[in-house]
């Protein structure tokens, strides 16, 4: 898990760094779940997500938006995402558990993921991205 929360006045901004693109996506998903539900999350149930996007930044945004959607409508809290990316196609196997108020009400709702400033960068140290969650 490799992300930090960066200062942003109104919303929540996350800076994620990872050695590979796929772990970057996985860490971003973890960050989203942490903001929404806190850190107590188990992985007893599996869920798959498959998406395609126009570019790699949109792929990340679309992936996180889909995780947000599935999490809300299926009442699922995810602890881990195993992400595979092939070009602009993504397949993820998520592990999670049903939402329970007792353990998962420590976070805040995320209204959406913003395009603003979302740009995946790649250098000798790996991959990095800043993501803004509208809370």
């Amino acid at each position: 898990m490799s992300f930090i929360e960066v200062s942003h006045t109104a919303d929540v901004k996350i800076r994620a760094r990872a050695p590979t693109l796929e772990t970057l996506f996985s860490d971003a998903c973890d960050a989203l779940m942490l903001v929404m539900y806190g850190s107590s999350r188990k992985g007893t149930i599996k869920k798959e997500i498959t998406i395609t996007s126009a570019d790699i930044d949109s792929l990340l945004l679309d992936f996180l938006s889909e995780v947000l959607f599935v999490s809300e409508v299926e009442g699922m809290v995810f602890s881990k995402a195993d992400v595979k990316i092939d070009g602009l196609n993504l397949h993820a196997e998520l592990k999670g558990e049903p939402f329970t108020r007792k353990r998962h009400a420590k976070g805040t709702e995320v209204k959406g993921i913003s395009y603003s400033g979302l740009s995946i960068r790649h250098d000798a140290n790996g991959f990095m991205v800043d993501i803004l969650f509208d809370v």
Binding site: S7, R101, A105, G107, E109, K111, S116, V135
Partner: protein, 477 residues
């Protein structure tokens, strides 16, 4: 103030064309020097970015609660020509029709002092926070009707009265709503959330009228000193959030197809008259209606609780007004001396229609539209009235609240929920939330002074003070 900004008047500043490449008009914002001390350069950058958008009329504007958002700044207002101009979800926000309403009651402060049981009952009666689901079960068909009829759906279903629609912006529904443009995903999110409060800065607060500044307007609005009121602040929930996400994606592509050059991807837009533009507007209006229905349902729940605990009647708890502060509207305004229909985007800004403007209730016509400005836990809220000055200067707009100065990260480091609650309790304010972080996030010190923000809009004349409301307690998500 920041470099490159020109002072126009005591509280008015201009960001000239050229501050950012491609600006079509200057940007103007309203701010005191005191508030200017916490002005982020990023917010001015965003304000200038909006000025690059096609068809923008006169100025890109921001109110004194301006702060750094995404795409448009929070506190941003921009009007676009219907033929040449664009519509942009970034100019509305994810929480379409996040807004606020105020009810009065026949109770006075001493009636609810120490009544923590009231706050507890409200907390358990109004689904609040992450994962909260409504007790109401609506079918897909009923959801479509909610999206068309808005608050009117709720009133017709027995969750309010006719006056609730009279005292609501747009009569509680926008007629341009088109549920067909709302995705199945958005509807899935909307079905279980009718009547839920949400989280973040959403709240339901009991307040007392502590000062009347304008007796005539206060009489017209039904406000009296020492009266207990209830303020409800929330939006379109997951339905609206999903509509924004869905249409942002479409409009991203549209921006490229229509060859619109933008300095920020979050300003994705399309010509208002285009199929994509019309689709977003129809979906946005449908979401706005859902939000009005939502606030009406919460109003009903609140009235039932107060009714039971204090033996008062629904009719003794009338609505003062309901305003949206994240929305795009087609409105008629004077532009270069001519009455023109324009598309006004308000992103964290409130409509402030002056006396004798259409769409304000007849009984309030001589006074102007009520403007409800929430403070935060522990700081005052305000009621103001709209003015003709706002019609001339800001397309009938004013501020929406206090605006943050501190991030949630900083707030959580600096404050503990327990400490904040203890400080509020010493002031006689009792707050209930699902977790302590929700309280720390929203500690009074993280916001600009609501008093200072409304002082600026009052002095500029965008809206005029009517009453101050002090918090007594409430619930938040």
């Amino acid at each position: 103030m920041l470099q490159g900004i020109k002072r126009i008047d005591t509280h008015e500043w201009e960001v000239p064309v050229g501050f950012v490449a491609g600006m079509r008009v200057p940007a103007r914002f309203f701010l005191s020097e005191l508030l200017g001390e916490s002005l982020e350069p990023g917010a001015i950058q965003q304000l200038a970015n909006v000025a690059t958008m096609p068809g923008i009329i006169k100025n890109s504007l921001a109110m004194p609660d301006i702060h750094w958002g995404y795409g448009f700044p929070i506190g941003g207002v921009a009007a676009f020509d219907l033929t040449e101009g664009v519509i942009s979800p970034g100019g509305v926000g994810f929480d379409i029709n996040c807004g606020v309403r105020l009810l009065t009651t026949p109770l006075v402060k001493k009636d609810i002092t120490g009544r923590h049981d009231l706050i507890e009952t409200l907390f358990h009666g109004v689904p609040t926070g992450v994962g909260a689901k409504s007790a109401l079960r609506v079918t897909g068909q009923e959801l479509d009707t909610m999206m068309v009829k808005g608050a009117r759906w709720a009133v017709e279903a027995g969750f309010g009265e006719q006056n609730d629609l009279v005292r609501c912006e747009e009569g509680g529904f926008m007629k341009e709503a088109n549920p067909k443009e709302v995705s199945a995903k958005a509807k899935q999110r909307g079905i279980p959330q009718g009547g839920t409060l949400g989280s973040g800065n959403h709240f339901l607060e009991l307040q007392v009228v502590s000062e009347i500044y304008d007796q005539t307007a206060a009489n017209a609005f039904g406000l009296t000193k020492d009266q207990v009121c209830c303020m409800i602040h929330c939006g379109s929930r997951g339905l609206g959030h999903q509509v924004c996400t869905d249409h942002l994606k479409v409009l991203e592509g549209a921006t490229r197809r229509y060859q619109i050059k933008l300095p920020d991807r979050q300003l994705a837009c399309a010509p208002i008259s285009s199929p994509e533009g019309r689709a977003y507007f129809g979906a946005m209006a449908a979401s706005a209606n859902y939000a009005w229905a939502n606030r009406q349902l919460i109003t009903h729940t609140t009235r039932q609780i107060l009714k039971k605990m204090f033996s008062i009647d629904d009719k003794e708890m009338p609505l003062v007004y309901d305003v949206a502060h994240n929305v795009a509207k087609i409105e008629e305004h004077l532009v270069d001396g001519r009455k023109v229909k324009v598309c006004v985007h308000r992103k964290g800004a409130t409509r402030s229609f002056g006396p004798h403007t259409a769409d304000i209730p007849d009984k309030l016509s001589s006074v102007g539209q009520p403007v409800i400005i929430p403070g935060s836990m522990g700081t005052p809220s305000f009621v103001l009235r709209g003015t003709s000055k706002a019609m001339e200067r800001t397309f009938g707009s004013t501020c929406h609240g206090a605006g943050r100065v501190m991030s949630r990260t900083q707030a959580k480091k600096k404050f503990s929920g327990k400490e904040v609650m203890a400080v509020l309790a010493r002031q006689g304010i009792f707050v209930k939330a699902p977790n302590e972080a929700a309280i720390a996030d929203e500690a009074p010190d993280v916001y600009k002074s609501s008093q200072e923000v409304v002082r600026v809009v009052h002095e500029v004349g965008l809206s005029l003070l009517v009453a101050r409301l002090q918090p007594l307690g409430g619930i938040k998500g």
